[in-house]
Each structure stands twice: as structure tokens, then as C-alpha cells.
Subunit: 360 residues, 2 copies
């Protein structure tokens, strides 16, 4: 071994006076290895002394897995989405996987980035965080090369998905307002085409229906951004007749809504009550501390990671039983896609200062 170069398995084997084969199996605790205890000991000591670190690439090249999971995220300017990322990242790390991060926007706009990311042999699987529903091509490309799990979207059942209970969250927000006595509640949804938004909207409608107020339903649309929220607030205030409360499908949008009301000198909750969906540290520091429904976003990310890792394990096990069938064999035919709702902890109302009884 040239001094300065990091030691290889061969170096360890030589040091211990055994063949690389034995060294490998001893260090990996291969149960089928037959070696005297003192031989094992020598190998372990040698590895220790040389500071041997396995070469991950070489190992992956031979073996069936790379130990890496791709996270394709969307909208990282919002802490909400970052929470999903952090949950997924932490769970992957916990299971011994490293995570490769990419932004969906970049990947869809730049083919060479997509190819670098999906290069053969780089990833064991991908978690795809869906935003506006424009990720069909991405999903297509991804799921053709590795197992994938879709977060917060439903894609015709071809791929596994995980979601939170968006409908219940919205319904909870509405229920809170109903309890306070509100009867005219406007829903500011996300952009058309977002499944997350659609589910929250249906929760809103369901809650009104249950209360026998379905004919008062009133839905506006806004992009998932504070600026769009502000604009929506302005639009709302332009109306001849105002509701007494607003449910906003997203906390970031809600931030903009509150600022819009502040700019127009509309007091919250005096003249209008506002409830958002999601929870984050910044909500209590907004123009008015925002009452929201907390959804377990980190748990969502973690669940996505868990589901994906299960699929990877299943595939590897299957591949092994077929005597090392090549990676790529039977992709996505491996298992029936798994759909999961994250219902623990359930959506929870976080009471702050933006809701109160309706104005006279």
C-alpha cells in the first residue's frame, strides 16, 4: 500500500495474512464463513489498525444496492415543504441511506441534470414530492429507472403514494369556525390542478354539508405563495358582500392573506376570522398570529422514506432469490403499489389569535 493512499480490503487481508475473500466475509460477519476465531480476530485487528473504510462504490457495483435514495423536492422556498424534506432525509439516514437532493423544477427543465441524477446505479429509489401536478414527465422518467414513492399526490395507482389527511384538516378548520358561530366561510384553495388543494377543498365542502350549509360554499383559488394570498385578500375585499371567515389551504398563502387584510385595515379576527392549514414556527409571528390545523409533515416525509425502503428491500430480496437478477429486472412490476394515509398524529387545531366570533 502506497503511504497516503487509503487502505483497501487487499491491504487488510495482507496485513492479516489471509485472502481478501476471508477478510471480506469476516468484516461483513457473513454467517456462512468458516474461519478460526483467531483468524477472525487477526482480520479485525488489521482493519482497525489500518483504519480500513470500505469503498462504497466498489461494494455497490458488485452488490444489488447503492445505499442512496433520491429526494426530488418542490418549492423549497416554503418551510412547509422543507419539513417534508427533513422528515424524509432523517428517516433515510436512520436506515443507513444517504440522500441525494434535487429540485423538481431544475430536473424538469434540464435534461442533463435529470440524467446525472438518474444515472444507472446511482440510486436505489426516489421520493418524488409533487407540487402542481406538472410532474408527469418526471415521474415517468424516474419510475422507469428505479422504485419511486409519490408524496401528496395520487397518480393513477401506478406508483406508491403517501399522503396526509388533507380533507380532515380542512374540515377541522371549518368546524372550528362553525363552532365560533360563523356561517359564511370562504375557502381560498391552492392552484387548480393541485390534488392536495382538491382534497382540502372537498374536506371544506364536506364540513359545510354536514352542517347543512352547503349552499354557502364559496371557493377562490390562489397559487401557493404569500403574494398570491395577498392578491386573493384584495380580491375578496373588493366584493360587495364579505364572508365572516376565511379558510386558507396553505400557511404561506395565509401569511399573504393576513398582510392583505392588514394593508386594507381590516381587523382580524374582529372583522374577519382566518384559519390556515399547516403548522410552522413563523405562523405565530405573522401580522396576526395565525390559527391553523397542524398536519404531520415531517412524519409524511418519514413515511415516504419508510415505504420506499420497504419496496427496495422487497426488490433486493426477490433479486437475491433469483440468484442476483440484474437491477432493472421487473421494475415496478415488483409489488403492488402501496397507498398510505398518515393519520398519526391526526390533524390538530392550533389556536392562536386569528379567529373569534363573527362580527355583528
Amino acid at each position: 500500500m502506497t503511504p497516503g493512499a487509503s487502505p483497501t480490503l487487499r491491504d487488510v487481508a495482507q496485513e492479516a495474512g489471509v485472502s481478501p475473500a476471508i477478510a471480506s466475509r469476516v468484516l461483513n460477519a457473513d454467517p456462512s464463513v468458516r474461519a478460526r476465531e483467531d483468524t477472525r480476530e487477526r482480520v479485525r485487528i488489521a482493519a482497525q489498525r489500518l483504519g480500513y473504510v470500505p469503498h462504497s462504490l466498489a461494494r455497490s457495483l458488485r452488490g444489488a444496492r447503492t445505499g442512496a435514495i433520491g429526494l426530488v423536492m418542490h418549492g423549497l422556498d416554503s418551510p412547509i415543504n422543507v419539513d417534508v424534506l427533513r422528515g424524509a432525509q432523517a428517516r433515510c439516514a436512520e436506515s443507513g441511506y444517504v440522500t441525494l437532493l434535487a429540485e423538481a423544477e431544475e430536473l424538469t427543465q434540464n435534461d442533463s441534470q435529470l440524467h446525472a441524477f438518474l444515472a444507472r446505479g446511482r440510486l436505489d429509489g426516489v421520493i418524488l414530492h409533487s407540487g402542481y401536478g406538472h410532474e408527469d414527465l418526471l415521474l415517468e422518467a424516474v419510475s422507469r429507472s428505479v422504485p419511486a414513492v409519490l408524496v401528496n399526490a395520487d397518480h393513477g395507482g401506478a406508483v406508491s403514494t403517501v399522503r396526509v389527511d388533507d380533507a380532515a384538516a380542512a374540515a377541522l378548520a371549518v368546524q372550528h369556525l362553525l363552532d365560533l358561530g360563523h356561517r359564511e366561510i370562504t375557502f381560498i384553495a391552492g392552484p387548480a390542478g393541485s390534488e392536495t388543494s382538491d382534497r382540502r377543498q372537498s374536506g371544506y365542502c364536506r364540513a359545510l354539508e354536514t352542517a347543512g350549509l352547503v349552499e354557502t360554499a364559496d371557493v377562490m383559488h390562489a397559487e401557493w405563495s404569500a403574494a398570491a394570498g395577498r392578491a386573493a385578500a384584495e380580491d375578496l375585499l373588493d366584493r360587495p358582500r364579505l364572508p365572516t371567515a376565511v379558510v386558507v389551504a396553505n400557511a404561506v398563502t395565509a401569511a399573504g392573506v393576513l398582510s392583505g387584510f392588514r394593508d386594507a385595515a381590516v381587523t382580524v379576527p374582529g372583522e374577519l376570522s382566518v384559519v390556515g392549514v399547516h403548522d410552522s414556527w413563523f405562523l405565530e409571528h405573522l401580522a396576526v398570529a395565525l390559527t391553523t390545523v397542524r398536519l404531520p409533515l415531517q412524519a409524511l416525509g418519514a413515511a415516504a422514506a419508510r415505504v420506499l425502503i420497504d419496496e427496495i428491500d422487497a426488490r433486493v430480496a426477490k433479486g437475491a432469490s433469483r440468484q442476483g437478477g440484474k437491477a432493472g429486472a421487473g421494475i415496478n412490476g415488483a409489488r403492488a403499489p402501496h397507498d398510505e394515509f398518515i393519520s398519526e398524529p391526526p390533524p390538530q387545531l392550533i389556536l392562536r389569535s386569528s379567529t373569534g366570533v363573527p362580527r355583528e
Copy 2:
């Protein structure tokens, strides 16, 4: 080639009727290859038809680089830090590198995660985003195995660093308040031990000094969190004598400070003016829209990536000239560490509603 398995270089070569060697050289446009044009064409066509994608692991194993950069981040619950991450990630992707994400806290607390992350042959380099100054061990471990760049910290010159001009930013904040007529300005710094905080504090002091007000300097410390900001605000209000303005070293802390003032019914900017450092979308939606000094955080992340990639390139070039010297040879002896200030764009005052003339 078994159907269903992804094609290898060999398959392409066979399809084109040449040896893998030629196929490799043609596809990589090796200038030293000598092959007839029609041979080249055949190879390219074959690759196309089979949908050949190079196996990144195999390539990296043979070659000198892996095409992957590690991002060790800190405090991803703050959008401020996420901006650095996004800048770095985008720049890496642009240069054809994929990025591996890890959280510093996890890595320091969990040895096996650290080892998985730094496994030999996985990374070409690491960007280390420094927080509280507790990352010495991490830096040590990282820089022993690959080139590293430190963001927002200075580490005795052993490793390259990039920073923004924190002192100038703080000075600009102070100057703005001086211009409004303030003479008693308190500085709410970050935690003791944070170099970023120290630099901002020195900018604050320098500005007061220039104005001949150095004896009015008043510094409090708070962790980088909204909760700590709120607590600091309460502490401040407990004093018998209040300043007329506050500069907060961090935008997230500032959010808490504003909420603290709101809770105590202290009007901003009527009774107290507040200026923060950093810019982010949420600042205009706080209890009072916060005036801040914008620092180019995405540019900071991007610069870190640029510096690191330069170092990687230099090392690879050097390794190549020494006929493929092993990775690991002369780590960190390769180049003198590079220190860089990101001064473009310069710190810029973003005027919102939290500053005004001093109270009577």
C-alpha cells in the same frame, strides 16, 4: 443482454460490432481515439437504439471522480439557511454534480451516519455549513477524507471558506437608524461563539464608532431562534431605560423580537425601531413588516460550490499528471486554502415598516 436488464457498454459494443474499448472512447469523444467515421456512427446509433446509460458507479470506480458533492447543513428549520442550501445545490447541479444532503446535528451525533456519508469513494468534496462553532470534529472528519469548503466560518486557515460581508451588513443597519436620528441602539447578537454573530457585532461597533457613539454600544445575546428573540425582547423591556432602536443579528430572531414587543403592546416603530439582518419572503408578513439588510445567501451557497468545484478540478488535474495517483494522496496539501468574501451584490437595505424616527 437479458431482456429487461439495462444495457451495458458491452451490449452497445456488440450491437455495433466493435470492442468495448472503442465504444467507450467514441461515446466519450476521446480525442485520442482513431476510428473511421462510419465506425463511430455505428457505435452512436447502437447506443441510441439500446438506450444506453453509463453506469455511474462503474465509471467512478475506475476514474478519479464520483460526480457527487456532500452538503452538510445546519438549522434547516430556518429559511435563511435553506437559501444557502438552495444556492449550493443549484450551482452543483449546474456543474453536473449531484448533491448529498446531511444535517450536521445528525452527523455529529451518529457515527454510523457519518461513516455512511463519508464512505470512501462516495464524494468528491463537501460543503460544510457552520452554525454554532461546534463542528470542529465534523470538519476534522470531513477534511481528512475529501476537500471541504466552510460556509460562514473561519477555521484557522486550514480549509477554504466563503462568507458574506456580515460586518458591512450590520453597519448598514446601524447607519440607517443613525440617519433616522437614533442615538441609542441595542444590538441583539447571536449565541456566543458564532463567528457570524461576532462579525456582525463588530460591524455594529464600527458604525457606532464612526459616528462617535461608541460609548452607547449595548449588546445582548440570543440563540438563532424566534423563541430566543421573544425572550430577548422581554428582557429588554424589563430594563429601566430603553434604547430607541434595536438591530437584530438574524431575521428569525427578529421575528420573535417583534412578537415580544407586540405581546407587551410596545408599538413598532412608534416606540422602538427594529432592523434585522437577512432577507426572506416571510419578513414582510411579520407582526410588523421588518426592515432588513439583505445578504446574498443563495450567492453564498453558490460561491461555496464554485470554490469547492475549483478545488476538485485542481486536484483531479494534479492527480492525472501524476499518472492516476490514488485519491487520498496529499489531501489538503493540494492547494492553499481559498478565502472568499461574497461582495456582489453588496448588502442592501430593504425598507419596510419597522423603522422610523425615534420617540420623543
